[in-house]
């Protein structure tokens, strides 16, 4: 199992450009999440999905969009990139059983710089 994979690892964007951050998991998890991590601020939830075709906003959704057409993939779209979106982006997934084992598995992250 590869777990959660993210591409690209690094990207530099110019202000106003758009891009899609890819996230794929091979664990058949229904729940998937996108976080951004800024220095000293912890992880902030952008969007999440509880299954294919179902997505919802997290704490900081402005400037982002998501889709979930398959169980495996959960891409994050940035439209009109702004310097405030410079951050490290992590995708995570979980398969909660309610028995205390619903850990979130994180991908390796995408480091995005907007200039």
């Amino acid at each position: 199992n590869a777990g959660v994979t993210q591409t690209p690892k690094f990207r530099i964007l110019k202000i106003g450009q758009s891009m899609t951050l890819q996230c794929t998991q091979d664990m058949n998890h229904n729940y998937m999440y996108w976080y951004r991590q800024d220095p000293g601020m912890g992880l902030k939830l952008i969007y999440y999905s509880v299954g294919a075709g179902i997505t919802d906003k997290g704490e900081v959704p402005n400037g982002y969009n998501v889709s979930r057409s398959t169980t495996e993939d959960f891409p994050l779209r940035l439209e009109l990139a702004a310097p405030s979106q410079t951050s490290v982006y992590f995708c995570a997934s979980t398969d909660p059983t309610g028995s205390g084992t619903d850990t979130q598995y994180f991908g390796p992250g995408t480091r995005l710089t907007v200039l």
């Binding site: 912890g42 992880l43 939830l45 205390g100 850990t103």
Partner: protein, 112 residues
């Protein structure tokens, strides 16, 4: 509401102990602890559920006081490999779609 972690940073010598605290203003269902090494993804350490017992593996353990909405992570006889940033993630209820709200983190540095 973001949980509050304390201390923000701690420096230890190998073999010393440390306690990291996580407090929330909301009633909690579970607390998750993660460790993140520089430039890497967070890695799960343990989860504590409401009504559950103190957990631990190796020399790292944690407790969860539901009445105070607090959790503490205990690292005993620290090793160099314990260095990293520790995050608590809190879940307010089973209807939350397993969403976690993370604290700002505690930077732990273990020196030889």
């Amino acid at each position: 509401q973001q949980p509050v972690q304390s201390p923000q940073a701690v420096i230890l010598r190998e073999g010393e102990d440390a306690v990291i605290n996580c407090s929330s203003s909301k009633a909690l269902y579970s607390v998750h602890w993660y460790r993140q090494k520089h430039g890497e993804a967070p890695v799960f350490l343990m989860i504590l559920l409401k009504g559950g017992e103190q957990k631990g593996h190796d020399k790292i353990s944690a407790s969860f006081n539901e009445k105070k909405q607090q959790s503490s992570l205990y690292l005993t006889a620290s090793q160099l490999s314990y260095s990293g940033t520790y995050f608590c993630g809190t879940e307010s209820g089973r209807g939350s779609n397993y969403k976690l709200t993370f604290g700002k983190g505690t930077l732990l540095t273990v020196n030889p």
